[in-house]
Each structure stands twice: as structure tokens, then as C-alpha cells.
Symmetry: C2
Subunit: 447 residues, 2 copies
């Protein structure tokens, strides 16, 4: 008998009812009934719920304590599951739990497989997601808000503004001990950077969370990532913007990354997100938070009951162009950037921060035209250092500004934010080089 | 007494002469004499040489067997070292050794610190480099050719053509069992890709090698990388294009990577180069080659005495533009690419291969205008998969071609090569998707 992942109370109930994972079953509770396919449980699941997939495609969790009977309808995965609507009321909030605001923007974490096309579409609302992961009620009382329903490749700087404003509203209400943002993974690290600059002196943690596998698949990382985000949002001693995603391919540990220092480094693995040039802030194992980061690498702010210094600067100016240098790169692209009215160029250079001397005249023109040029490295890890080789020194002399170990993605986002918040080019250049939210690690800790 | 790295014969000689590392010494051999600073040795150095830094800035190795006397001139690092010219004749070739051609293109591996500016400049010739690493004579008899003296950020596709033609000339001479190309590290992986496509059915290995620290520093990785490249070039059972660089920060192991699957992933570490989505082909420890790669991941060709099927296609067409997508990306950049006569766009998309639907009209225009659009992922690791989400499927419908786990860098180089070798757009598209040199791992092995 296949009883994947079930244990103790829930295992006992399943065994006694003589049903297996994959069977279509009918479940009666004291005030409702459901028909669906019994789903496997992920490893860290509790013993208090069973999960069935309804014909609508959603998974729901049903409290074992509320179950009066389970009847097998069809052996193995059936097709004739009758449609039932899950009622949120089953999961009664316990008033003493810490309060969390969950802001849903879309992405795989809120998606389900479209059985028509075989693809995945973004559809599940945050409240449905909460309903499908009943373990959450152990850790927090969660208010949900769906503000967007987009895969994150479609998000633009104006969406960052929208998300920042919604978070600010929640923070200012003083009702929550933490905020969770569910988000598509494709540009989650860009949004994490954007919120890190837009929301200053946050009194509470803002945790962005996504999933690499859709939440109605048994292999989904959605449940554990969201549970871990909830644990970090409620228990963390630190405030600021973070990303929580699987730290390994298995359902063992979730890593919590600093918003400005995280990158999606794999197209499909559940542990695709990595901290760049630092260790993750924390590892979340079960419901324990293990703080990892040395204070010497980055500087984190403590959670703070006083929100009076909290500052919202939600605007971005997207006249920023990111150019990745490569052999055969056409220097006229730089001219195109000048002509098109871009105000900042992020050059993703080679090695320590280099581009061919063939581009020097265009670089000089750009600087003369008042376009700021910032240098990052396409190496991903390590910092730019433009004093070592002739090429770097020549570029420095022309006015190119190296950004140390700021990632290209964070540099692009920061430049958009800096442009929206500075009228003067000199103050904009200065702000780009200041370490505001750990975007430069182990150099100038923020105060 | 400081005798860093010296052992057995050389250590005995130094001890008996009562000199230390850092002292300015005068060395007499049976037919010459030198004055310079006694330099430390790297860990794997042999016992048959001592190394001194001449006033010219170069390090030279002197055979202990040839040394008649060592006299201390100045205690510690002195300034008054008299200039001596190193004579290549000391290192007599042993005729039975395998023959290697070393083609020098420049970069840190052939560079020395400019004591005037404090920076590093590319200056040392390949023969001087050979002279400075006397251990090489244990493994091969090396012919050297300096064809370029450039930091690799300045290399262009026409340089790839020049290097490919020089290698072809050496291969066709049938005089060599392997070719080594010394190269700057910034774009070494781009050149490795370029040579992988330009040189087909290579009968012998072509090994590209560089250094992250200049060769006159005690911490330089130049010597070990070049020794390991020589070992692989002489002993490898495989032909093809490879890159050999440190596998760890210490001087223990050098990794040998497939030319199309390697990337510079750190700005400064000695182990900056990593194989993407596969393990390195081999680890070189001391003078042992440990083959690592499973034949299921990639397909390597065996070394082959017969060079009749060797094919040189050295041309590249640089009407290829690499666009890295990010939130706030301006779709008009795609229009600019069409208007500027680019024939292929490599879109470095997010996640599994996505860009915002805001770019869809421009993508459609590009395809209509006969511009090929290829999709890679900025995640670096993992493959594109555009059938999972709506965005991907829409892009596929428009004619965007996913490139699996080809790196963006290799995709850019390959597109330049494919354009130069195909007049028809359909054959160019087909060739981009064919696995020719392991640029797509674990999918279609090359025959």
C-alpha cells in the first residue's frame, strides 16, 4: 500500500480506511464532504491533514480530526471525480497566532497545470494557496491580498512601485509582524532588489517567496518555501527584504537570502536561488531558523517595533540600459544608448570589469553627454577591480564607475531607483557607489 | 631561514650557500652567470631548479645541476640587481620528448607587474614564459609562436580566425602531439567556443590556458596551469578544444574543461573557470590525468594519428547581437537590432527562456524581417524549456528557437560562426540547434 509521506494520525486514518495515494476517495467531515484523488505528502508535512486533489485541479488539506469517514470510490487515479468547492471556513484562525500579510503577485507558486494544454498557468489566489497548505495555520494568522496575477517575466518597474506601496500600507497599519510576497521566480531577485531600495528602515521582515514547480504537483516546492517564509517572517530577529527558496534539491532546508544579493542560477532546480559572494542569511530547517551570515560580510537591521523611521521611495526611472559585453560587441550600441536618451548604462564587462578599447571613443562620448556608465562583471561572483590592468585604469580615467560586487541585476534595478530619486548626476553617481542595502558585500556596512 | 617551496637538491644547494628567499644572489653556472632575487617556489615545483627574478622583471629557472656557486650579494630584497639576460640555451631540448606547439596570444599568463604604475601589463613572450617554467622540459619539447600580445577583452572574431588558422597550420604540419594556446582569461571561454566550431575533427588536443595572477608573482597560477596544459596536450586520449585552469584556490588540482561548456564565474579566484551543466573532462593532479566526464553527458573524440578528416572553417560574421532581458527592458532595442542589420539575436531570457509579452510585437517583426531569434537563459545553469509556461509557448509559436543548455556566450559565438558558414536562413537555424561540439550537453551526442 502506497502511503507516501503520511505519518502517525493521518497514516493511521488512511490505513484504517484501506485507501492509497492515487485512489479517488470521498471524505466526510462533520460539516462537509469532498471527493478527490488522495495526494502524496511532502516530507516535512504534519500528521494532522490529508491532501486531496479536487477535479478543479487544486489540492486541499483536510484536518484528520474533522474527518468522520473516508470511502474509496475508484482504485488508482480516476477521471470521474465530482467537483466540490473547498470551503475556507474549515481552517479557523487561532487568534493568538502572529499576524502576517501575504501579498500575491502571481507566478508558479500560485499556479496549476492546465490540463487542456499541458502547460502551467498562473491562477490560484493567495487565499486558495493558504487553504491548500493547512500547516500554515500552525505558525501564523494570514491575511491575503491578490494585487497581481502575472508570471514575473511580465513584471515592470511600475509593478515594483505597486508592490512597494502595498507593502508600505501593510507596514504602516502596524497590524503585522511580517509580510510575505508570493512571486514568480524568473525576476524575483530583481523585485527583491527593487523593494530593498524602495522600502528603507523596514521595521519588520518582508519575505519574497516563489516555487520552481507548480503547487499542485507532488514535487512542488511551494508548500515548504511558503511555510519557511512564514516561519522567517514571524520569528526572524532581522527586518529588511529577503528571499526564501529551497537550499537543496530535497525538502530538507530552505535558505533565506538578502534581497540585493540573490540570483536565480538554475533554470529548473528547486535550489536555483543562490546568495552571491556571501552565505545565505539563514537556513530554515523544520521550524528552526539557523542564522548563518557573519556580521562582517553584510549588516542587517534588527526587527523594530517602532516604524517611525520607515521610509517609502517607490519610484523607478527605466532610462537604464544593461549591455553585456562580448567579443564582436558593436560599440555603436553605446551610441544608440546615448541617442535614445538613456541616462545610465550598466556595462556587464568581462573579468575584473573590462571592455575592448574599441569601445573607448563611444564610452568617452557617453560620459561627455552626461550618461553615467557603471561597470559590473559577467563573471557573477567576485568584485570588479579596475586598477589592476591598463584597460581598467583607462576606463576609470574616462569616468566609468566600478560597482564592486553588486550583481548586474541589482545594479540595473538600483540605477533605475537612483535616477528616480536624484535630479543631479553627481548625487546619482555618489548614491550608486554607496552601500545602501548590502548590494555591496563586505565593504561599507550600512548603519 | 626562509626556503619557501624548495626541496631536496635545490633546498640542499640553497642551504649550503647560506642564502634565503628574498636575498639578491649571484649564480655561476659552468657557462654563464646571473644576478637576481631568489624567488619562492610553488608547491608542486621540482627539485632540479632554483628561480631568480632578474632586474628586467622576469623570473628564470636555473638547473641546480649546472650551478657551480651561489653568492649572497644583498640580504633581503635588494634594489641594485645588475641586469642579466637569460639565455634560452640552458634548457636543452631532449629529443625524445613529445612535441608541443605553444601559441601565445597575450593575457595575464604572459604578463608581469609594471613597477612604474603598479599595474599588470602583457609583455612576456611565450619563449620567455617557457624559460621561466623549467619544469616544462620534463614533459615536452615546446615550439613557441607569439601571434598576438593582447589582453583578451580586446580580442575580436577576426582574432579567432587568426588563431584558428595558426593552429590549423601546426596541426597540418603533423609535427605536434598537441597545441597549447596561452590566452587572457577574460574572454578565454569565448575563444574556446570559437575554436571548437572552427576546427572540426581535430586529430590532437588544443588546450587553451591562462592565469588569474601574473606569472612573476609567487601566488601565480601560471606555472601549474601551463604544466597541466602540457601534460594534457601530450598525454590526453581525447582530441578537441579544452581549457585548463585551477580547480581549487590551492595549487593542487587543475581542471580540464570542454571548450564550449566552460565559463569564467569569478572575477579573481584562481578557480574562476567552471564547466556548466557537466563535470570537467578531467582533473590533472601532479602529472596524472583523471578522466571525469561520463560519456552520457558529452561525446569526446579520440586522439587520432590520421588528420585527413580535419576541417578548418575559421570565419565568423559578427552581425549577432546579445540582449540580456530584465524588467524595464526596452522592446525598441529589438527594433534597433532589426534596423541595424543584425541577422541573429541571442536573447538571454529569464528562467526557462522567457521575456515579457511587451516584447512580442518586436519579436514578431524581427522574425518577419528574417532575423533569427535564439533563446538562452541568464540563469547560467540548466536548460531552456519553452513548453512549460504560456510565455514560452507563445514565443515558440512566433518562431523563437530555444538553445537548450548552450551558454549565452557559446550561443553568441556559434551564431557568428553559423552565419559565416550558411547563406540560407533555414540551414543556419538548423545548424544552431544541432549539437556539434558538446555545446548542448546530454542531448544529442556528436558522432
Amino acid at each position: 500500500m502506497d502511503i507516501d509521506g503520511y505519518k502517525e494520525k493521518s497514516l493511521k486514518l488512511i490505513s484504517e480506511s484501506e485507501v492509497s495515494v492515487g485512489d479517488t476517495i470521498h471524505v466526510k467531515t462533520h460539516d462537509d464532504e469532498f471527493t478527490g484523488i488522495l495526494m502524496p505528502r511532502y516530507e516535512l508535512a504534519d500528521e494532522n491533514h490529508i491532501v486531496i486533489k479536487l477535479k478543479s485541479g487544486y489540492n486541499i488539506g483536510i484536518k484528520t480530526a474533522n474527518i468522520q469517514s473516508i470511502t474509496k470510490i475508484i482504485q488508482g487515479s480516476g477521471q470521474n471525480v465530482s467537483v466540490e468547492t473547498f470551503k475556507r471556513e474549515h481552517l479557523k484562525e487561532v487568534e493568538v497566532l502572529p499576524k502576517i500579510a501575504l501579498i500575491s503577485t502571481g507566478g508558479t507558486i500560485t499556479s496549476k497545470i492546465d490540463y487542456r494544454t499541458g502547460g502551467v498557468s498562473s491562477a490560484l489566489s493567495a487565499s486558495e494557496l493558504y487553504a491548500s497548505i493547512p500547516e500554515l495555520e500552525k505558525y501564523a494568522s494570514i491575511d491575503t491580498d491578490v494585487i497581481l496575477n502575472e508570471y514575473s517575466e511580465n513584471l515592470k518597474p511600475e509593478h515594483w512601485t505597486m508592490i512597494a506601496n502595498k507593502i508600505a500600507e501593510k507596514v504602516k497599519s502596524n497590524m503585522y509582524c511580517g509580510i510575505i510576497v508570493s512571486h514568480g521566480t524568473d525576476t524575483m531577485h530583481y523585485t527583491a532588489s527593487a523593494l530593498s531600495f524602495a522600502l528603507q528602515n523596514l521595521p519588520i521582515p518582508v519575505v519574497i517567496v516563489g516555487a520552481q514547480r507548480s503547487s499542485d504537483r507532488p514535487s512542488s516546492d511551494a508548500a515548504l518555501n511558503l511555510i519557511s517564509a512564514t516561519i522567517f517572517a514571524t520569528k526572524s530577529q532581522f527586518s529588511g527584504v529577503f528571499v526564501t527558496m529551497h537550499a537543496s534539491p530535497s525538502d530538507e532546508t530552505v535558505a533565506c537570502h538578502v534581497g540585493t544579493r540573490v540570483r536565480k542560477n538554475h533554470t529548473s532546480r528547486r535550489d536555483a536561488f543562490e546568495s552571491i559572494d556571501i552565505t545565505p542569511v539563514a537556513m530554515i530547517k523544520g521550524d528552526k531558523i539557523e542564522i548563518q551570515t557573519e556580521q562582517s560580510e553584510i549588516k542587517l537591521q534588527k526587527r523594530n517595533a517602532d516604524s517611525s523611521s520607515f521610509l517609502v521611495k517607490p519610484d523607478f526611472n527605466n532610462k537604464v540600459i544593461l549591455l553585456k559585453y562580448h567579443p564582436g560587441f558593436d560599440p555603436h550600441l553605446i551610441t544608440h544608448a546615448i541617442m535614445s536618451g538613456y541616462r545610465a548604462i550598466i556595462v556587464e564587462g568581462t573579468g575584473l570589469g573590462h571592455i575592448s578599447r574599441e569601445c573607448f571613443p563611444q564610452i568617452q562620448n557617453a560620459v561627455k553627454s552626461g550618461v553615467m556608465i557603471f561597470m559590473t562583471s559577467q563573471c557573477i561572483w567576485g568584485r570588479t577591480k579596475m586598477t589592476v590592468y591598463d584597460t581598467g585604469r583607462d576606463l576609470l580615467d574616462m569616468g566609468v564607475i566600478p560597482l564592486s560586487n553588486m550583481t548586474s541585476e541589482t545594479a540595473t534595478v538600483k540605477a533605475m531607483w537612483v535616477l528616480a530619486n536624484n535630479k543631479e548626476i553627481e548625487s546619482a553617481k555618489k548614491m550608486m557607489q554607496e552601500n545602501m542595502a548590502n548590494e555591496i558585500a563586505r565593504v561599507v556596512p550600512i548603519s
